[in-house]
């Protein structure tokens, strides 16, 4: 538990991805089995233990501390797990702190009535950091800025494994992943991938440089719409429950029962997860967001935002692995498969059409004309390319439509993190509504390092108010902000949210009064 607690503690403060990887690799290298496997599971969200409710923790602490002092402390600290960890009376040094593996196995076996005593005994034997880590583990959801993907990336790097290989076998493995660690340490063979509903690594695309078009033969490629949803893999099954995987390899089946329930077929499909808007058309991404990251799915959500998958590739047809086949053959198998799909499943799975074109010029025109609610642009796929895991250069290109731009006024700047902690690098910008500015978004990239220095200097010289790491600035600097789409939003004061906003140009020359007005931005909202 000590090593795991130290890892969580360090990860909380570590801003950089490389630093996190370093910490994770060090943990795998220095922690024995089975603890490191349970630690990995906790980070990857695959650790299945009974969770403790905040009410239980409050009860435990109230038996050990003055309620008035507890409330002063909780007010000050703000986080329940941390407050309790710090307040818990020390003094159990005599007992040996439990190992992570011991905690996990004991909790799984214990009857519910014994859990409070177990927790108390462990708390007594741990130091403040250990207690905090234990409470994080028990309340579920570590929230320390490490995704399952990052944890697996660290494991792959540490064991010199191919991440795609690891992803492929991952869902067939269980905590504490001793076989995986044996493989990583070259003490064992690559574990077998589970049959049926396991994850296969995705094939990803490169962004198209338009100058590249002249070097490509249009006859070698097909075009499809690029949909603005999330990329998913549907591992259907007629025997076991079907599963839905996100690009990270995360299993998101539980969040989309409407999709998985309809996937009772023996095939692995690749497509875009979308929700329907009015009629049959896909709704903007903002609507899909209402469905994402929910552990419990309310019926209202299912009814208001019905999900479906727009399918564009097929990895397995029954037992047949199609990945080595060229796109044309896979597409043929996919079209045949989709045609035979029962009507009930057709509501949840439809085929992403191929967009015919004669020349790159013609396709450029098609791309410019398309602005459907959930269209991001075009995909170009080489007809003869097999399905290759990872991001190979050449077979698949994404060709996003040109971004929209507005001229907005810088309103607030916040200090960045890590390398950027001495720079004001996160910029909130707004547009005019009558004679006041209303914020419409936040951007923290799109500028060069040299421009960042200039922006930082401008912020420091034009600060009107400070709130900790945030500075309000005088309305004097216009930023040209590029974004992929504008959507209505009830969360933002302006009523508008921008997709992928970034600073495309700093308009040192433009007076703030000439920046855009909210009405102008509202006209860019999809469906407006």
């Amino acid at each position: 538990m000590k090593a795991f607690a130290a890892l969580l503690d360090h990860l909380v403060y570590q801003p950089s991805r490389l630093g996190k990887l370093r910490l994770l690799m060090d943990y795998f290298a220095t922690t024995p089995d089975p603890d490191r496997g349970y630690g990995l599971a906790a980070l990857a969200g695959t650790l299945d233990i009974p969770h403790a409710k905040p009410a239980l923790l409050r009860k435990l602490i109230s038996a050990r501390t003055d309620p008035v002092l507890f409330s002063y402390s909780y007010d000050y600290v703000g986080d329940l797990a941390e407050t309790i960890a710090l307040l818990w009376p020390a003094g159990g040094e005599a007992t040996h702190p439990p190992a992570l593996g011991e905690i996990v196995t004991t909790l799984r076996a214990a009857p519910k009535s014994k859990v409070p005593d177990l927790i108390a005994t462990w708390m007594d034997s741990l130091d403040a950091t250990g207690r905090w880590a234990l409470l994080k583990l028990l309340t579920g959801g570590l929230r320390i800025g490490v995704s399952a993907r990052l944890a697996k990336t660290a494991l792959a790097q540490w064991g010199a494994l191919d991440l795609a290989d690891l992803e492929e076998i991952w869902h067939g493995q269980e905590p504490p992943y001793t076989a995986v660690f044996a493989w990583a340490e070259k003490r064992g063979d690559k574990p077998a991938a589970a049959r049926g509903t396991s994850f296969r690594p995705f094939m990803l695309s490169q962004a198209l440089e338009e100058s590249e078009l002249t070097t490509l033969n249009p006859a070698d490629f097909i075009a499809e719409w690029k949909w603005d949803g999330i990329r998913v893999q549907v591992a259907g099954s007629t025997l076991t429950p079907a599963r839905l995987f996100a690009r990270s390899g995360d299993d998101i089946s539980a969040t989309f029962p409407d999709v998985t329930d309809a996937a009772s077929f023996d095939a692995v499909l690749d497509g875009e997860l979308l929700v329907r808007g009015d009629g049959a058309d896909p709704a903007p991404f903002a609507d899909l967001q209402q469905r994402l990251n929910r552990k419990v799915v309310a019926k209202k959500q299912l009814d208001t935002y019905p999900a479906f998958v727009r399918v564009y590739d097929m990895l397995f047809d029954g037992e047949d692995d199609l990945r080595a086949l060229p796109w044309t053959d896979r597409r043929k198998r996919l079209e045949d498969f989709m045609e035979k799909l029962p009507a009930a499943a057709q509501a949840r799975f439809d085929l992403s059409p191929v967009v015919p074109f004669a020349s790159w010029e013609a396709l450029t025109g098609i791309r410019a004309s398309a602005r459907g609610a959930a269209m991001e642009g075009l995909m170009l796929k080489r007809r003869n390319a097999p399905y290759i895991a990872g991001r190979p250069k050449g077979p698949w290109f994404k060709w996003k439509r040109d971004p929209l731009t507005i001229d907005a006024v810088l309103m607030y700047a916040q200090r960045g993190h890590g390398k950027r902690s001495s720079f004001y690098s996160d910029f909130t910008f707004g547009v005019w509504r009558d004679d006041e500015l209303v914020p419409v978004g936040k951007a923290y990239f799109g500028f060069t390092d040299a421009e960042l220095k200039q922006l930082d200097g401008w912020v420091r010289n034009n600060t009107t108010e400070r709130f900790g790491p945030v500075r309000a600035v005088a309305p004097g600097l216009v930023l040209e902000v590029a974004f992929d789409a504008a959507q209505n939003s009830t969360r933002h004061k302006s009523g508008i949210a921008l997709r992928f906003p970034r600073v495309s140009r700093i308009r040192w020359d433009k007076p703030a009064v000439e920046a855009d007005r909210l009405e102008t931005v509202a006209k860019l909202v999809e469906g407006a």
Binding site: P15, T83, H417, S422, G468
Partner: protein
């Protein structure tokens, strides 16, 4: 809470949050008007806007504005300020004031344990264990003994003598870390974490934010005691006080100014700077530093994160909760007055212990690190 800005409810809420977190010192500055302590035990000590005034002695303790006669507990900028008519303090504290503000009018040194009659009050200084020269002020008048703790801690510090327990009728204490969540860990273990980070990131400079007075020298000494004998690099604002500590016999080992060093020379090294320089433009000269900060506040994760600290070191020169309670038991005063910090929690604990206590709400003394105003550093870039 006055005039916190915000253009709508959500923004105002946001601003308030920051205000509370960062502007606590400002919030505390509400009208502390001339008040007379009701306690019969020591009605000769008054809380005034200038500080604690000892009427029959004609002096003010740690005055926040210039006064005729000041008695200073220690050299931190919020306790020792320039411009008084006369100043009484320990020899090191006077030396620290000289380094910071130049020679002061009416300097008078008093050694630990030595008694001096000022007006009708007998004054003695006893070690407080906070920083070099820090003192408690022991005062006797008409058979009543009052001890003003100043800032203090109870654990060992290689750079100054330990806190001396002095029984008294009224103990006037600080309460900077007076919440039961503040339990400072062993400082050796914190130093071990710093060295462990050096092992894990051997190519990155380790930039440690620490007060130039006291904390910096203590960190250096703890590092030396742990066997770290490499040169330690210093921000320019650190040099003068380190030299002063050396003059008082604290062997700090090899110290090197950061100024003029090529970037690569700092990789894998420990660099000390004032907390304010951590996220200042000054720190850009370092290549991907690990930013550490040594402070009792680092106990609270969100506070450390807000400052962008990657390696929080919980090392404080103030008493933690247990030390405060231990001190109350050791000193066993008839009554406790609480000067600054989290007065309400300490008052509650004293209530549970059956000791009469009250908060004085003194203004002008900063929480450690709450604002980097504690030790105003010379603006010279290092």
């Amino acid at each position: 809470m006055p005039g916190v800005p915000g253009r709508n409810a959500a923004e105002t809420l946001h601003a308030r949050e920051f205000y509370y977190r960062y502007g606590r010192a400002c919030v505390a500055a509400y009208g502390a008007h001339f008040r007379v302590m009701s306690a019969a035990a020591a009605s000769w000590i008054k809380v005034t806007p200038a500080g604690l005034e000892v009427v029959p002695g004609g002096f003010v303790i740690d005055p926040v504005v210039p006064v005729d006669r000041a008695v200073i507990t220690h050299g931190h900028g919020d306790h020792a300020r320039p411009g008084h008519g006369a100043v009484l303090a320990t020899t090191p504290t006077l030396a620290i004031m000289n380094v910071r503000f130049g020679p002061q009018r009416g300097e008078q040194a008093l050694q630990y344990g030595e008694a001096l009659k000022i007006g009708d009050v007998t004054v003695r200084l006893e070690p407080a264990g906070h920083v070099l020269g820090s003192a408690q002020i022991v005062m006797e008048y008409r058979g009543i003994r009052v001890v003003v703790s100043g800032d203090y801690k109870r654990r060992r510090d290689p750079t100054c003598p330990p806190f001396a327990v002095t029984p008294c009728d009224v103990f006037i204490t600080e309460a900077t870390f007076a919440l039961p969540v503040f339990c400072h860990p062993d400082d050796g273990a914190e130093i071990a974490r710093l060295r462990e980070s050096l092992r894990l990131f051997p190519d990155r400079p380790h930039l440690v934010g620490a007060y130039a007075l006291g904390k910096a020298q203590r960190i250096i000494m703890l590092l030396r005691e742990s066997g770290y004998d490499a040169p330690i690099f210093l921000h320019g604002a650190m040099a003068a006080l380190c030299n002063l500590y050396r003059d008082f016999g604290v062997a700090l080992g090899e110290l090197t100014p950061v100024a003029g060093q090529p970037q690569a020379a700092l990789n894998g090294r420990i660099v000390l700077c004032p907390p304010g320089a951590l996220a200042d433009r000054w720190s850009r000269r370092m290549n991907e530093p690990v930013t550490a900060m040594a402070s009792g506040w680092m106990r609270i994760r969100q506070r450390a994160k807000q400052r962008g600290v990657e390696l929080p070191l919980v090392i404080s020169d103030h008493a933690d909760w247990n030390e405060l309670l231990q001190t109350m038991r050791d000193v066993a005063p008839g009554e406790v007055w609480i000067t600054h910090g989290r007065e309400e929690a300490l008052a509650r604990a004293l209530e549970l212990m059956g000791v009469p206590a009250k908060a004085l709400s003194l203004i002008g003394y900063e929480d450690e690190n709450d604002d980097d105003a504690k030790a105003p550093e010379p603006a010279t870039p290092a």
